[in-house]
């Protein structure tokens, strides 16, 4: 199954060419356009109850879509925000994603929703994380540009900027500075990540955009 990430990095989208027998798993709402020969079916993402919890807390929809074709066809997948898309090839390893970052994957990849822990929640990164593992390609996106850091020791990430991390990374919630500085200084709570391992960040955050917008509203 051929896939190409186009229009990087500002408005990245994925053009996938499907042939008979190919299956593409994608986040609901990701389809922008498709040939009339491509069929879409919707199914539950994992178990029903965990799905309900996800819907209420995780913000990720209950459903994912599966695209197939009886002959051949093309589909363009996108994400709600402008920004870059990255493709990672899993070879038996695991990666944790912010639920909203997931766009699509090969059917051989396992998707599971996991509990991210209160540290993640307090640090502004959400209660849940999506665990992707197995073999195959995963496409995830960001609001903004994607940049990575190899962490040794500790590193501080402002809330809303962390999009993915390896399982060896440990998260801890913290303040950006002292109490006065953290809140007056506008940084508030942050996530302190401890390595060794790799983290992926985005160069903008929806929270940052909302704060900028709100500052201009009267």
């Amino acid at each position: 199954m051929e896939a190409e990430i186009r229009n990087r990095p500002a408005f990245a989208n994925i053009r996938v060419t499907l042939k008979q027998g190919d299956r593409l798993i994608a986040e609901s709402g990701a389809m922008a356009s498709m040939s009339s020969t491509v069929e879409m079916s919707t199914r539950f993402n994992g178990g029903f109850f965990s799905g309900v919890l996800r819907r209420v807390f995780g913000g990720e929809s209950l459903f994912i879509n599966e695209f197939t074709t009886r002959s051949s066809g093309e589909i363009v997948l996108t994400q709600p925000t402008p920004g870059d898309i990255e493709c990672i090839e899993l070879k038996g390893n695991t990666l944790y994603l912010q639920p909203g970052a997931f766009i699509a994957c090969d059917p051989t990849v396992s998707l599971g929703m996991g509990w991210a822990g209160f540290a993640s929640f307090i640090g502004g990164e959400g209660l849940f994380r999506l665990k992707v593992s197995g073999q195959g390609r995963v496409w995830f996106g960001a609001y903004g540009g994607i940049f990575a850091r190899e962490i040794e020791g500790e590193y501080v990430v402002d809330s809303g900027h962390l999009i993915a991390y390896e399982p060896s990374i440990h998260l801890r919630a913290g303040m950006a500075g002292g109490i006065f500085s953290s809140f007056f200084g506008g940084e508030g709570l942050v996530t302190r990540v401890t390595g060794p391992g790799r983290i992926y960040m985005q160069s903008r955050s929806i929270e940052g955009l909302a704060a900028w917008t709100n500052a201009h509203l009267w």
């Binding site: 903004g144 590193y155 501080v156 402002d158 002292g178 900028w212 509203l217």
Partner: protein, 232 residues
């Protein structure tokens, strides 16, 4: 004079990210909430830089009263990004002055002084007018745009909608006015319907920086998506 600060601007031009490498003891000053990530050995302190007089000036300039100081207790990096999509650019001040519109300022090094300057906008109806910060001294300045950052040389006269002005050099004369070539009926309608109510007319010679997107049209677009206030 070249910068003593080690920095890199990546993810340009649409989601620019500023990464500054600080040596032990080095300081950098930033707009609140601009920090995206930082190494463990960097200490953040919020404060009122420059004392009360300068602080009030900054309040009139539209920037918040607070300036964040990042000091490297151990060498490390800090990354900065604004809330809106767009570009970030480095400007070297060398015993010189640059005027910036509110919201454009992000980071400056030691040696740079920021103060507010009321741009003399006509009327508050447009909501913004032209509210400026003055950056002067010798050092590094980093400012942002919403959208692309376009640098232009003004040679005689040029008109820019107030929402799109990012920065301009001191050598230019400017005044804030309604669109000069607009008929009266048009002026009144435009004023109320969120259009080109106010523009800046630049005269003389000097550089200006304008941005390719503005917050007011974005607010108009986002309006229907905002939560509705519940009537109690």
């Amino acid at each position: 004079m070249t910068s003593e600060l080690q920095f890199d601007i990546t993810q340009r031009p649409d989601f620019a990210l500023l990464t500054v490498q600080l040596q032990k003891g080095q300081k950098i000053f930033a707009e609140p909430s601009a920090m995206a990530s930082m190494s463990n050995g960097i200490r953040l302190k919020a404060g009122f830089k420059g004392g009360w007089k300068k602080t009030l000036g900054r309040a009139l300039g539209g920037e918040s009263l607070i300036i964040n100081t990042f000091t490297a207790e151990k060498a490390g990096e800090v990354t900065f990004a604004p809330g809106c999509p767009g570009d970030t650019v480095h400007y070297q001040l060398d015993m010189s002055t640059l005027y910036l519109q509110r919201g454009a300022f992000m980071v400056h090094s030691e040696g740079v002084e920021l103060s507010g300057k009321w741009g003399g906008a006509k009327g508050f109806f447009s909501g913004k007018g032209l509210v400026l910060l003055k950056a002067s001294g010798t050092g590094d300045l980093f400012f942002n745009s919403y959208g692309a950052l376009i640098e232009m040389n003004v040679e005689d006269e040029y008109i820019v909608d107030t929402g799109y002005v990012v920065a301009f050099e001191e050598s230019l004369d400017y005044d804030v006015t309604t669109v000069p070539g607009m008929s009266t009926g048009g002026k009144i309608k435009s004023f109320f319907f969120g259009g080109e109510g106010l523009v800046v007319r630049f005269r003389g010679e000097g550089r200006i920086w304008i941005q390719s997107r503005a917050v007011n049209p974005f607010l108009n677009w986002v309006f229907p998506f905002r939560p509705v206030q519940k009537q109690s």
